[in-house]
Symmetry: D2
Subunit: 339 residues, 4 copies
């Protein structure tokens, strides 16, 4: 931590701050500048509490030097983490994963049809929600366990692995029973109780970035899971909230190369939620690949205009087939392969 | 809903869209403009599903006309909701409530001391977290039930009512046992499972606005609680996330008069989290009163520089006493009274 | 500047960086931490160029310690700057200024009528645009010098001082000829050519914060004016751009107390543009006073529904009279007076 | 325009609004819904003024149906605009343009060296600022005409076309004398006086998106130029301002496919300013190509650590050469070619 003293801070104030730093277990290194004094605090204690030094007389600013995440950090583990789901590999130089399916499991018939279609076009995982986080209490809330069973049946029929969302601690067991990958949605990225629970499961976790979460916060949420012993975490960029109204969300592709520097965890992209507009899914999917993503998550529905949710951002199976074809040269350019 | 057709949409496309609207149970009212056709959809079904019309050929835009919240709406209930906590009234023309206390319950001694101090200065409710949502898994996570017991003891000693946060469904019972008002934190504003649970409790709920939640979303989260039968919901503005780095959050006081028009629910303000800077708490507390707030929530700690969390935004008891004195003329100007 | 080296940066890299810092004219103060080395750069040269050190091998981060503004800084001048416009004082503990008038000067009749009305209710300055920055090239662009002459006539009739916007360098002379206070609009806050020109005028400048400008950037723009010798700068908060759609802009009242700490310059608030909604003007005007503002700028129009621009955020004279009456107790509570 | 009346608006209010709409020259089409009445206003007058209807009694909302830009609109001109700069083509299905060079022209030697290097690697245009918009008045402000002459010399030596920024109306002539493409910087995107002036020049204009400008606003600024008769406008995405602190700006690649639907104008991307981090330039350049960009603008400096400005986001010539090589397969995948 760097503690910046105010211009004109008294000797006494500087001493008092230094003593307090030492009392908290750090060494102090003062730098006397032209205008003001700066104190470096060196030690390996929890740095968080040093932030409160800002309340002491004469202190202007307290600036952290170190990243707060540890296990998630690329500086701790150089090599890419590869999350294995059956034979599918997510992460690493060459692997590329495609997850596709409806926003919500609506009916058995709908889900099986979509599963077959996306399987035929090369998707490896089926996405679909049985528990749905809906802004309105009056909207469809999901089929719950019945939906999970339908997903399991789709897996049986197609061989696709299942990605599905867990919304609450009390459903952890039932979701873990059916899912191959458990999704933590954007709205729950800082539901720390939920993160603790999935940190103790033996299942890959797909952690979506909150729509106003910094990359550092995303990694701190991953750290909750990693620090409990579950190392199979996949990060997912799915759009942030900005002033722009032309799209429902602003897909932030900068996050991919930036995260790749900060962490060894795989990073996938959801251009469906990320933009909220079906006409932007294809170009942004290509761009995600070019930016270095490890996979894509795409919403597909046989009848988007009748979907219970997310119709505006769902591709038809035909449009999805087109996408799978169109991204090929970009995967090749990126040296990536869907296995 | 207003469905805007594209310039040059064909007659056939317009007909197909109209038929689909009618199939979903609405009447259609086309308006043929100079450049394009617009279709009004009239009916009392769930409007959400009409949004998917955007995927049909020839449709340019789908614009909602009605607000999605109902029970929370001022148009449904004209009179201010007054939430009663013992003798304390939150909401209504003249009532003003002050909640104060530490970010976290750290020790019995700390909590009791702070409780006595804030009581002496006129606070009516004691705030303090026993379950703490912390960005880092390595930070202090709260004393849990032990902390709740300390709060109960503070209530016994001082008569202050207790506001404390519930973070997860599985702690609903224990928190409800000790709390007078249950707080849903900003990070859990869209934890819909949690909202459903507190919607069935017989306790006032303090619902904090998420740091990137629109006012409409805040009211939709309130609607989750109200629609389950719990009408005692207090809304709380606590700062939003913007590009500005001079404060940790940007306290959005516009929300107060805007919410007052949208809803009958009381609105309080938390200038401690709302700014993240203790030097901004007093002026923003005054401004919140002037903007029409029904109450304040203030972080107070006997030793901010040693607080386990939120030290940078905690007032000392002496500073809190100063605040309580300084806000008096503004309360009077606003016609409000702390009873 | 604090230069943070990467974890595992080599001795050679640290030396190379240190030498480069010294070459640029600074002393170096290394702090060897548990995980990494940090170098303090001490000296009184332009710090800006040190930022490029980030490109050197082994450097992780470069963190500025000092504020980049100088003349605008409160640490350079403790006492509040009071800008004098005739007998009106803007800034200082007790003074409060009210500027009111139409968005645009539309006709002589309209302007004179509004001027008389706002004068009668206690406004001291008349606002009104003769050069209008309009998003659309097809919208009314202002009456230019004809409009300035109308404003001058309104001044003659009412005694109100004139605030009007300068949009471009080539109109500096003509605007300065008629205006008592020259407004630099939000969109031109970083039009540095314009700032340089008004820095050499002998007229008070009202500098509006850009809708996505940080407070530091606002002060740097003020610094452009101050550094050219014009010390009569009034800052104006007028709403920032956020994700929230309930208001056109989000009026950021946090800026008032934060700016008051950073600078000695007066700070006024424009709740008309700041919110874009006439129903929010009154509560936010009260809140601005409570937060410590030195004045208000309010849009008033005799027929808002027929205004050429900004109709949605204009008060009628009757509503303005109500506002002037309603803010009185808040001015008193704040110890401020309109003289 | 769609005028939404309040729930419970009286018959008289609805009539009064309808009459006012008709008075302004539109036909009215009322739709009586279950909860409220909606009025469609049909006509080809300037819609802007209808917004002020929001101030009339009983009106809840006024929603525009049409886009406000006309000449810039894809619905007016289906085919891509191709801007020709000498033999270079910017825009259209297959063309791809690369602009590279230093942030600022610092010295003749520096500029010529960089020009030769970027030419050798395949750039077609040389970027470099002679007039520099700097946040601080104490930073290097550019060499002005001397800088323009150096650029002209570089053109003569290398054959590269020159892109350089115009900051103020009074320099329009001198900049037009030397530049092949005139850049309007992000901070001047809504400097309407400047837009009017360049709208009357016979030179291609590179219009950068403001860091908080919506796509609609960007197109309205383009419309200023187009409506004056200059049809050679190139749009440039260069990063927007969000809450994220990991990058200086958030490059918004969604803008590319979204703009391509809205307009026929070419869209290029500046990943140097767009991210502010040199390590993100390459991946975001690839992603920009994949998303459909018509060109790139890249900052290159022989000694980034000594650059007068933008050092942190400048590539060395060697790094630029690497970039030019790495983007090749992505250009091929996108069916684009640098000619």
């Amino acid at each position: 931590m760097i503690i910046v003293m105010k211009k004109g801070a008294s000797k006494k104030e500087i001493e008092k701050v230094s003593k307090h730093i030492e009392k908290l277990g750090y060494q102090t290194h003062p730098i006397v500048g032209v205008e003001r004094t700066v104190i470096g605090a060196v030690g390996d204690k929890d740095k968080e509490r040093l932030k409160a030094l800002i309340t002491m007389a004469g202190v202007e600013n307290v600036m952290p030097v170190l990243q707060p995440y540890k296990i998630a950090s690329r500086s701790v583990k150089k090599h890419d983490t590869v999350v294995q789901v059956g034979k599918i590999k997510i992460g690493g130089k060459k692997n590329f994963a495609v997850m596709a399916g409806p926003c919500a499991v609506e009916t058995k018939d709908q889900t099986l049809k979509i599963a077959e279609k996306v399987k035929a076009e090369g998707a490896q995982l089926l996405r679909g929600g049985a528990f749905k986080p809906r802004t309105s209490p009056y909207s469809f809330q999901g089929l719950e366990e019945k939906g999970l069973k339908i997903l399991a049946e789709a897996r049986k029929k197609t061989g696709l692995k299942i990605v599905t969302e867990l919304m609450s601690v009390e459903h952890a067991k039932v979701v873990a029973k059916y899912a191959d990958v458990i999704q933590i949605g954007a709205r729950n990225m800082q539901n720390f109780s939920l993160l603790k629970v999935v940190g103790e499961l033996n299942k890959p976790i797909l952690l979506k970035r909150g729509h106003a979460a910094t990359l550092e916060e995303l990694l701190m949420s991953a750290e909750y899971i990693l620090s409990r012993g579950n190392y199979n975490v996949i990060l997912c960029e799915r759009g942030i909230r900005t002033f722009e109204k032309a799209y429902r969300n602003t897909l932030d592709l900068n996050a991919i190369p930036a995260l790749k520097q900060m962490t060894h965890l795989p990073v996938i992209v959801d251009p469906s939620h990320g933009t909220g507009r079906k006409d932007l899914i294809l170009p942004m999917a290509k761009a995600a690949i070019a930016a270095g993503a490890d996979g894509l998550m795409i919403e597909v529905h046989t009848h988007p205009e009748e979907a219970y949710s997310d119709g505006p951002q769902s591709l038809t199976p035909k449009e999805f087939a087109h996408l799978m074809n169109e991204i090929k040269p970009f995967l090749q350019a990126a040296g990536k392969e869907i296995i």
